[in-house]
């Protein structure tokens, strides 16, 4: 078991190294000169050259890569071109807002999602199942920014309903959380419902479920204790992957609802071509994603003795 955990940790480190390298390649090897971008229109040749030297851009690529690796290990992601603030500090400051949104949206998605999936699986191809699955397919099909825009149109903009604030953060009242949370939750909710349904359908066809039924156990016991418990693995994977993805940033929703999280930082960095900030956010979100998946892998070991340790 210990060796399994160590192997997982080492592999995650290997992935993180890949992520750091990919981020470096993405911003350094591809066209575009950061020094020129930083100075913009006012940059004459000498000041661009000076800045290149200062940023270490005059060194060879392998040297730059070495410098970058060293800095990242020390937690130094550079300073923003736009605000001249420390990138990691800015990201850390915005994390709580994104985390609040991600956690509440996942709560909203997970519980009803599993419930809908289980109910659908108990009466496959009934009108209830067909309706639920069609609506969930529509839920999967709607890009988050489209859902966000439609919600604002319906519930906040006025002509239909005027119940919700158009945008803003919870420091101005908790009602600001509702629309972004629901918008964000719809896709994972739909996917969790569908994954739960198909996983349940597979399990419900197994012999041990038939045995449990034949024993005369109550239907609730059979469904919850025998079926759902064994159908849980793919559901947990879906929930954790989505949670990791949401924590990594909810760009469009934060943009639409002006929610001061990591996504909003990323969007404004993109608009200003603030390279270090973009690089920082990309790196941060990918590392968070890797770490959460690692955590879930390790949790499996403790929760589910069936997990193969090979």
């Amino acid at each position: 078991m210990i060796s399994y955990i160590i192997r997982k940790l080492l592999y995650s480190l290997l992935i993180i190294w890949g992520v750091v390298s990919a981020t470096f390649v993405l911003t350094s090897v591809l066209p575009g000169d950061p020094a020129r971008m930083m100075l913009g229109q006012r940059g004459d040749v000498t000041s661009v050259e000076a800045l290149r030297k200062q940023l270490g851009l005059d060194k060879s690529l392998p040297e730059q890569y070495g410098d970058y690796l060293q800095k990242v290990v020390k937690g130094d992601l550079g300073r923003s071109f736009a605000t001249n603030r420390d990138v990691l500090e800015t990201i850390a400051e915005r994390t709580p807002a994104t985390a609040l949104l991600a956690i509440t949206a996942m709560l909203l998605a997970t519980i009803p999602g599993i419930l809908i999936g289980v109910i659908s699986s108990l009466r496959p191809n009934s009108w209830l199942d067909t309706t639920a699955m069609s609506i969930s397919l529509l839920g999967i099909s709607m890009p988050s920014f489209v859902v966000g825009i439609l919600f604002v149109l319906l519930f906040a903009a006025g002509p239909v309903f005027d119940w919700m604030p158009v945008s803003g953060y919870v420091d101005r009242g908790w009602e600001h959380l509702i629309l972004p949370m629901v918008t964000l939750g719809i896709r994972p909710l739909s996917i969790i419902a569908r994954v739960t349904r198909s996983s349940m359908l597979e399990v419900l066809g197994q012999d041990y479920v038939r045995t449990a039924r034949a024993k005369g156990l109550s239907p609730t016991t059979v469904v919850v204790k025998h079926a759902l418990r064994n159908a849980l693995n793919p559901i947990v994977t879906t929930v954790s992957t989505w949670f990791a993805a949401l924590l990594a940033g909810t760009f469009f929703i934060e943009m639409i609802f002006n929610w001061p999280g990591i996504g909003l930082v990323a969007i404004s960095a993109i608009e200003k071509l603030d390279y270090p900030m973009i690089q920082g956010v990309v790196l941060f979100t990918a590392v968070v994603f890797v770490l959460i998946n690692l955590l879930v892998d390790l949790l499996y070991v403790f929760l589910d003795p069936k997990v193969k340790l090979s």
Partner: protein, 361 residues
């Protein structure tokens, strides 16, 4: 029933029970799925609109009549076309309140109330039906006085075009990497899976954005950005298929015949993975449409004045806070939702239909 005069050869052929391929069986099954057929017809409609946009769309999507900025759904305009001195083949539209024609002189009142008289020679074309028009804006106009319906139709073209090419890129990368990993296993597999996991760790939209920032904005940058960011699912599925197929007897036979690995991979194993590839490509199409719309919603991706749904939502979003002209954001949103929904409906149907376990005669 056989005709008695039919030749014997034809008879035996017709009497032999038809062996149906997986594809024929799947097609039968797909046809029975109402939702998949709805998806298919919707896709057919979108493809039709995209291909024949020049014919179908009521107006040039980039024609601006600034006097008609942000008009509501069903607005009917009143314009005369003047000759455009710099571009002789392109009429210059002028919004008017009314006009009277006296001999060779046209007197018109514009929307500010000013009255002008011009000679008929300054007008575009010769007959009244050529230089006068009452354009109907079925879905209204945007802030530049452009026809929203025409822009949505041309938006379908850009959307499909980007989706097709980005999916070709994504499939090419995914199939090659997945096939190599699944066929060779060992360190090749380890290396490719490492790369796959690294790419998978980035939220795909962020990766698309990062590529698009690095490459710059435009059409080819957009499909390259989407293509190189979305091959992970393809690679994983192909790898899984190759894992099981490489032990199959027909692969052993190919090896025994002395065929090289490339021929075995691409001529023998790959054709047997076409089912899963079709499913993953259909789903990938939907994600590519979303990614393109997302990029242009952020102002990256395809640049104005090219009509694109994401860009239209971006423009319409400004009106949400004001609470007026909400349909500017609504219509392109509906267009995206329908397009993505259609591909997902078909993809879902294909997944069921191509699953050999579920095929029944």
């Amino acid at each position: 029933m056989q005709e008695p005069i039919a030749e014997p050869v034809a008879q035996t052929n017709a009497q032999r029970p038809q062996a149906e391929s997986l594809w024929q069986l799947s097609w039968k099954k797909l046809k029975r799925s109402i939702s998949a057929m709805i998806g298919m017809y919707l896709i057919g409609l979108i493809v039709f609109l995209a291909v024949f946009a020049d014919v179908v769309s009521p107006y040039d999507p980039n024609r601006q009549i600034l006097e008609y900025a942000v008009k509501t759904t069903g607005f009917r305009g009143n314009v005369i076309y003047k000759k455009n001195p710099s571009r002789p083949d392109e009429p210059h539209p002028v919004a008017i309140a009314s006009y009277t024609l006296r001999g060779d002189t046209l007197q018109y009142t514009d929307l500010t109330g000013g009255t002008y008289a011009i000679s008929v020679g300054e007008l575009y074309g010769t007959s009244e039906s050529e230089w006068h028009d009452e354009p109907l804006y079925v879905l209204g106009t945007d802030s530049f006085g452009r026809d929203v319906l025409s822009r949505i139709i041309y938006g379908a073209r850009i959307s499909l075009y980007i989706a097709i090419i980005s999916q070709v890129i994504s499939l090419a990368i995914g199939i090659v990497l997945g096939a190599l990993a699944g066929y060779y296993r060992g360190w090749v597999d380890d290396g490719i899976m490492w790369l796959t996991n690294v790419v998978w760790s980035f939220p795909s939209i962020l990766l698309v954005i990062a590529f698009s920032v690095a490459l710059g904005q435009g059409e080819w940058q957009t499909f390259v950005a989407i293509g190189v960011s979305t091959w992970v699912d393809v690679a994983r599925i192909i790898r899984g298929q190759f894992f099981s197929l490489r032990e199959a007897e027909f692969v052993e036979a190919a090896r025994a015949l002395g065929f090289g690995p490339m021929r075995t991979i691409f001529r023998h194993i790959l054709p047997n993975t076409l089912g899963p590839i079709t499913v993953v490509a259909t789903a990938g199409f939907a994600s590519a449409i979303v990614a393109e719309a997302g990029l242009s919603f952020l102002g990256l991706g395809v640049q104005p004045p090219t009509a694109s749904w994401g860009q239209m939502i971006r423009d319409g979003r400004g009106y949400l806070a004001v609470g007026s002209n909400l349909e500017l954001a609504l219509y392109p949103s509906i267009a995206i939702a329908i397009a993505v929904f259609a591909f997902n409906l078909l993809g879902d149907g294909l997944r069921d239909a191509l699953d050999p376990r579920t095929i029944k005669k």
